[in-house]
């Protein structure tokens, strides 16, 4: 059983990394093999949250996709993007910074890919009007979306998975990760000012073109927009309170999405068609493959190795936290961060059981979110989300931006992305490490 589960896991990972076959196909086939070889029973796969599909993650993702799909129809995202460009008074560097901040804030609440898909068309138009190269803008947005997505529980799938596994709520992420991301954004954009501040110059004619744009014409459906804003506001309020109210985040998101679907008058057939089903099935397949490795004991072996290497104790996991930021960062630049976090989650859970379980007497999420474990989860999140910035294929948002740029006639080579992405990854990982070290191991907040 152990070797069957290991073989399925290793082969699936290898094929996903090689990108020879679509990752959803690989994950689903691997999941089917896990069940067919009886590594997991179908009951484990569909009904056991530790071994099978984490439906909290799936429904949270579906619900947020539904809300965004309906909101996109109002034209509000194009409005915000054009308004942002005008706020920069046509100054190319100011526009770059404003776009970065808007992308980061939007990504904290929306899916990263969705955010870049919404802002990139306007960026291409603005760059054309300004007669500047759109590539630095597009890469900046991909980086900003990956950074901003790290700030909240719902910003990036790894956070949704970590929150669900470790029983951490929206407020936990807001208190622990959002300050780190604000700090990282400030330092990164100061670094960007040094690089781009003086290089981006345009004439008055080009600036005037941006100011002549009319953002008010872009709102397609003001009534629907009003409904969307109310529901989104209530949903975010629900996220802020879900821990206290005793709801899972998926419950809050589903309540928001289904209410919006009910009052929007949109055709559910069309709205549901636009949900990214391949991504969701990729998640389901992965959960089952990794559940197989948990049950067969492979993850247990890994967690023993990690304990032997980093010597975590019930009082401090300093070395583990520091190693985790770098290990996750490097791994996520190479492997998709979703399978990476899906693997690390049960590993850290087993580690917590071995190191903290016997002395604290706690189990499940209460054990996983023990104060000694917390910095390790934050290290995993920061590393996994920020590491994706390293290469053109490190995160889905990067892949999308490269694709859109090529379609617009500005191909971005792997090396060119690396030139921007690698230094930013290095910088943000160093800041993350310093943040975790200072906050949890020096100041003890």
């Amino acid at each position: 059983m152990f070797w069957i589960a290991t073989a399925i896991f290793v082969c699936a990972y290898a094929v996903i990394v090689s990108e020879k076959i679509n990752k959803t196909k690989v994950a689903l086939f691997g999941a089917a093999l896990t069940l067919a070889t009886k590594v997991l029973t179908q009951h484990d796969a569909l009904h056991d949250v530790d071994l099978g599909v984490d439906w909290n993650v799936i429904f949270l993702l579906i619900s947020m996709m539904l809300i965004v799909n309906i909101m996109t129809k109002t034209g509000v995202f194009q409005y915000v993007a054009v308004k942002s460009a005008k706020l920069g008074r046509g100054d190319p560097f100011a526009i770059m910074i404003i776009f970065a901040v808007v992308t980061a804030v939007a990504s904290a609440f929306l899916d990263n890919v969705t955010t870049v898909l919404l802002i990139a068309p306007v960026t291409l138009l603005v760059a054309k009007e300004l007669e500047v190269d759109p590539v630095p803008y597009l890469i900046t947005e991909a980086l900003a979306s990956n950074i901003g997505g790290t700030a909240t529980l719902i910003g990036d799938p790894p956070n949704i998975m970590i929150g669900s596994k470790a029983g951490l709520d929206f407020m936990d992420f807001l208190v622990h990760l959002t300050p780190a991301i604000i700090l990282i954004m400030v330092i990164w954009l100061l670094f960007w000012k040094v690089i781009f501040g003086k290089r981006l110059v345009v004439g008055e004619v080009q600036k005037a073109r941006i100011l002549a744009m009319n953002e008010n014409a872009l709102i397609r459906d003001p009534v629907l927009l009003k409904k969307c804003c109310i529901i989104l506001g209530l949903t975010i309020l629900g996220f802020l309170l879900h821990g206290q109210l005793g709801y899972e985040p998926a419950t809050v998101a589903l309540l928001g999405a289904s209410t919006l679907l009910l009052i929007s008058g949109e055709d559910p057939q069309k709205v549901l068609e636009e949900v990214e089903w391949p991504t969701l099935f990729f998640f389901m397949g992965l959960f089952i493959i990794i559940g197989g490795t948990v049950k067969a004991g492979l993850i247990g072996v890994f967690s023993q190795k990690v304990i032997a290497l980093t010597h975590p104790t019930q009082d401090s996991m300093l070395l583990l936290s520091m190693v985790m930021v770098w290990f996750s960062g490097i791994a996520s630049a190479i492997v998709d961060n979703i399978p990476f976090v899906a693997t690390m989650n049960p590993l850290l859970a087993e580690l917590a059981e071995k190191v903290l379980g016997p002395t604290t007497g706690l189990t499940g999420p209460a054990l996983y979110s023990h104060p000694t474990m917390l910095p390790v989860w934050w290290a995993l999140s920061l590393g996994a989300c920020l590491g994706g910035n390293g290469t053109a294929i490190g995160a889905s948002a990067n892949v999308i931006v490269v694709g859109l740029a090529e379609k617009a006639g500005y191909p971005i080579t792997f090396a060119r992305f690396l030139k921007y992405g690698a230094p930013v990854t290095l910088l943000t990982i160093i800041v993350s490490m310093a943040y975790i070290y200072l906050r949890y191991y020096v100041l003890g907040w």
């Binding site: 194009q78 054009v82 054309k128 009319n214 014409a217």
Partner: protein
């Protein structure tokens, strides 16, 4: 009735190296729906419709909503034209086209047009040489004639 007897043989034909600017002129000066891109031996390489021309001129990211934000002046259009005026017919053309043979029946052409929702079918010999085109209108006229509605002219 065979296609051979109803196809038009006077077609707008260009080589693959013709530029967007020249294509725009060709399109303006003719009454056919398609421009046919052929090689030196008149083998059909691709077709260009008014849709292809408009799609080339407007960048993909400028959707109907985003276009509303732009001021209504010639500068935007001229800028778009300048960006693509040197693109060639070979780059713009649609390579996947549905065609018929001169000896195919008019019913086959009618079914093809209905299936694909297209307006004109190029007529090709077995070796791919372009010999004519049959339009939706020509088929409709033939249909009307068969049903007993003779042209007044």
């Amino acid at each position: 009735m065979r296609i051979r007897h109803m196809m038009r043989t006077k077609l707008a034909i260009v080589g693959p190296d013709v530029t967007f600017a020249e294509l725009l002129r060709t399109y303006r000066d003719m009454d056919s729906r398609l421009v046919y891109v052929v090689d030196a031996t008149r083998h059909l390489l691709g077709v260009i419709s008014s849709y292809d021309l408009l799609r080339t001129m407007l960048p993909f990211y400028l959707d109907s909503n985003l276009a509303k934000a732009l001021p209504d002046d010639d500068a935007v259009i001229l800028q778009a034209f300048e960006a693509c005026q040197n693109r060639t017919a070979g780059e713009i053309m649609t390579r996947e086209f549905v065609a018929v043979h001169p000896d195919d029946t008019f019913l086959e052409a009618e079914a093809l047009i209905a299936e694909h929702g297209i307006s004109v079918l190029p007529v090709l010999e077995a070796d791919g040489q372009l010999v004519g085109a049959v339009s939706r209108r020509a088929i409709l006229n033939a249909l009307a004639a068969q049903c007993g509605f003779n042209s007044e002219a």
